[in-house]
Each structure stands twice: as structure tokens, then as C-alpha cells.
């Protein structure tokens, strides 16, 4: 087992591609921009030996969409890479080629929040049902079901 990494160590390694802060005793948060996410993921993988993806979390805070990649490694420290996306046309480069487990999370986030992961050609439905209408993202704060729209399930006459 490797010793836990420290905040100073993280700051020294990632340098100017993001700002690091200690948010909990076992968690370091790196704030970055959508354009630099691939660089940050690569340096976290190589320099901080974070070889595992815990999850990608997404949230709608009303003004922007937040995306947080949680990575960890054998040192047991969680490195969270946070970025914010504009609500209109949220786009971020895909990381599924350098971080294969990210693929399934990206499809889910695309389903529920409508974030477009550039470079992915297979963002088909995974969580929502197959006949869910296009351009309806149910976990966005401003979304409400439209009474005239068919959202899947049983169509027509009900027993």
C-alpha cells in the first residue's frame, strides 16, 4: 500500500491545469475547465497513480451543469475533478478512450442531463426506455413532463 497523497503533492504535480483543494480528509478536489479535462485525467492517472474510476457525478445547480469525475488508486485518496458546463449546449470531450469505465457513465449522463460527450458516436439510450422522446432530459431542473407528449410505456387504450 502506498502512502496517502497530500495536497501539496497534488498541487506540485498538476501545476497550472487546475486548482486543487482539500475538501475532506480523504478527498482532494481539482477544479478545471472542460477543455483541459483530458490533460487532467491523464496527469492524475500517471502522476498521482489514480488507476480507478469510482463514478462520474452530474448535477444541475440552476445556473450551470456540474460534472465531477471521482478517481482513486491504491493510496486510497479520492481525487475529484470538477468542471462546470453552460446549460445551453453543454459539451465536453469524451474520456472513455483513456478511461474505459467512463463510457457507461457518459451514456447515462447524456440520457438524463443531455450533456454531449464529443468524440462519442454511440450515445444511445441506456437508462431511459427506448421510446423516450428526443431532447427531453428529465433530471434538469427546468424539465417538466409535457401532457401532450408520449414518454413510452403502454400506448393507447388502457385496461
Amino acid at each position: 500500500m502506498i502512502d496517502p497523497i497530500t495536497l501539496d503533492f497534488v498541487r506540485e504535480k498538476i501545476q497550472d491545469i487546475g486548482t486543487a483543494e482539500q475538501v475532506r480528509s480523504n478527498r482532494i478536489r481539482i477544479t478545471t475547465t472542460p477543455g483541459r479535462i483530458r490533460d487532467v485525467i491523464r496527469s492524475v492517472q500517471e502522476l498521482l497513480s489514480c488507476d480507478r474510476l469510482l463514478t462520474i457525478s452530474a448535477a444541475d445547480n440552476g445556473k450551470t451543469l456540474e460534472l465531477i469525475y471521482h478517481l482513486t488508486g491504491s493510496h486510497r485518496m479520492v481525487v475529484s475533478i470538477a468542471l462546470e458546463l453552460p446549460r445551453d449546449a453543454p459539451q465536453v470531450p469524451t474520456t472513455s478512450d483513456i478511461l474505459p469505465p467512463a463510457g457507461i457513465y457518459e451514456r447515462q449522463i447524456h440520457d438524463l442531463f443531455g450533456i454531449l460527450f464529443q468524440g462519442r458516436s454511440d450515445l444511445k439510450k441506456i437508462i431511459l426506455n427506448e421510446d423516450w422522446p428526443e431532447n427531453e432530459y428529465p433530471l434538469r431542473k427546468d424539465w417538466a413532463p409535457d401532457p401532450g407528449t408520449f414518454y413510452g410505456g403502454i400506448k393507447g387504450e388502457r385496461v
Partner: protein, 177 residues
């Protein structure tokens, strides 16, 4: 009230149906608590097998279907398809608050909110989750309904009385008496 009309083979089939109802379980998107209570029915404390109630894996072998959970949009067509595979006479029990009205999932984007908007339901069981004795009571209610249906020669008599999907068992009993 057993019926003693009909041919010998028909009487034998009716006796066997009432004596040993086979049940199939379908989770339409619930949290699994109702399924655990159904499993508790099978365990030695309640042991429904002494009443002849057997849980079967295939809907094609079942007389009674127990549906747990609010119905998700994905599961709605599957639930309809599984229900269609059960041979007549078939009875449906909707378990828990979710089966009746969606429960805590009511109004969510992925829910159709109740079992009876997809398939006709014969008995609703309240509770979150319901207790095993209430589940056994619901199965016995379905058996009484089965006896009444045999006496009336089918399920149509309930529709002519104005009850298509009875919301509770007391309503059914009132019509029967």
C-alpha cells in the same frame, strides 16, 4: 362454496385450482421489500406451501400473479406481455403502496404510477411493505373470487355488476353477498 355441476374432469380441475393455486412473482420496478415479504411467506413461520400455494418461476404455470412495485415505463410492456402468457383463469394481486398508486415514486418521469393502468388487478394489498399474513389474505381473497367465478361461469358477471377493476376486496365481497 364449491360447485358440483359440470363434467367429472371439469370438477376435478376446479377442485385442483382451488386446492393449490400456483403463484408467480413479477417485480415491475420496486425496491425489493415486497419481494422479501413474499419470500417470508415461504419461510417456516408462515409456510404457505401447507395451504398448497406454490411459487412458480414461469407465468405459464401460474394461476395468480403477484406484481410488486410501481410500473416503470420500461417494464410496462414487459408486464403486459408476462400477464398475457398466464392461462385463464388468472388473477392479479398488486402489492404495496407502489402497486396501488406509485407510492413514493408517484409522478416521477419514469413511472406509469399504478399496476391497474397496465393490467386488470383483482386485489390490492396496502402497506409498505405489506405483512406476509396480508399477502396470504390477498391470495385467499383471489381464491374466493375464483370460486365465485366458477359458480358464475366466468369473469363477466363482475363487469355486468359495474365492477371492472375493484379497488378493494370489501367491494368485491359486497357484490358477492
Amino acid at each position: 362454496m364449491a360447485v358440483i355441476t359440470g363434467s367429472l374432469s371439469q370438477r376435478l380441475v376446479n377442485w385442483a385450482r382451488v386446492k393449490s393455486p400456483w403463484v408467480t412473482l413479477f417485480n415491475s420496478g420496486g425496491c425489493n421489500a415486497c419481494d422479501i415479504e413474499v419470500i417470508a411467506c415461504l419461510m417456516p413461520r408462515f409456510d404457505v406451501e401447507r395451504f398448497g400455494i406454490l411459487v412458480k418461476g414461469s407465468p405459464r404455470h401460474a394461476d395468480i400473479m403477484i406484481v410488486t412495485g410501481h410500473v416503470t415505463l420500461k417494464q410496462a410492456s414487459r408486464l403486459r406481455r408476462v400477464w398475457e402468457q398466464i392461462p385463464e383463469p388468472k388473477y392479479v394481486i398488486a402489492l404495496g403502496a407502489c402497486g396501488a398508486s406509485g407510492g413514493v415514486f408517484h409522478g416521477l418521469y419514469h413511472s406509469v404510477n399504478s399496476v391497474d393502468s397496465v393490467i386488470p388487478v383483482d386485489a390490492f394489498v396496502v402497506g409498505c411493505p405489506p405483512r406476509p399474513d396480508e399477502i396470504i389474505n390477498a391470495v385467499v381473497t383471489c381464491l374466493n373470487l375464483l370460486k365465485e367465478d366458477i359458480a358464475h361461469g366466468g369473469k363477466e358477471w363482475r363487469q355486468t355488476k359495474g365492477i371492472k377493476n375493484s379497488k378493494n376486496t370489501t367491494e368485491i365481497r359486497e357484490v358477492i353477498q
